[in-house]
Symmetry: C2
Subunit: 84 residues, 2 copies
Amino acid sequence: MDENVLGIIAGVFTSASMIPQLVKVLKEKNVEDLSWITLLVLITGVSLWVWYGILKDELPIILSNAFAVLVNISLLTCYLIYRK
Amino acid sequence: MDENVLGIIAGVFTSASMIPQLVKVLKEKNVEDLSWITLLVLITGVSLWVWYGILKDELPIILSNAFAVLVNISLLTCYLIYRK
């Protein structure tokens, strides 16, 4: 299989897996079970992967991790808004 | 920065971010809030990333995603054991 096609498919799966969490938080406005440390570590990690993808010039890596940065920054924003 | 070093650091961050979830489930033996669909989609996605890493011969991609496969299979196993 073409490597880029494989990377795009892999990226769609790992990106899709994050959506239910964001939908759940937006719907229930409940962030009790979220860990902001986990979110910060994850945002740092996926941002570094974007940098790695840019250095390696690999679009699937850049796109899927940039999406993950957005989702996790959204979750962190929800955390700051909805925490009690 | 050397690309492989960057990839390893990125992998350590994204891998580390998964540990709290696994520890929480093992400690509380409560999987009520886990979604097995999310876990299955994630296991599929990270497995495809391992395949991508093998095709591209990129060790950071292979290692961090292989770790993610292990963590998520462990979570799915916990789900099957602890669900009510």
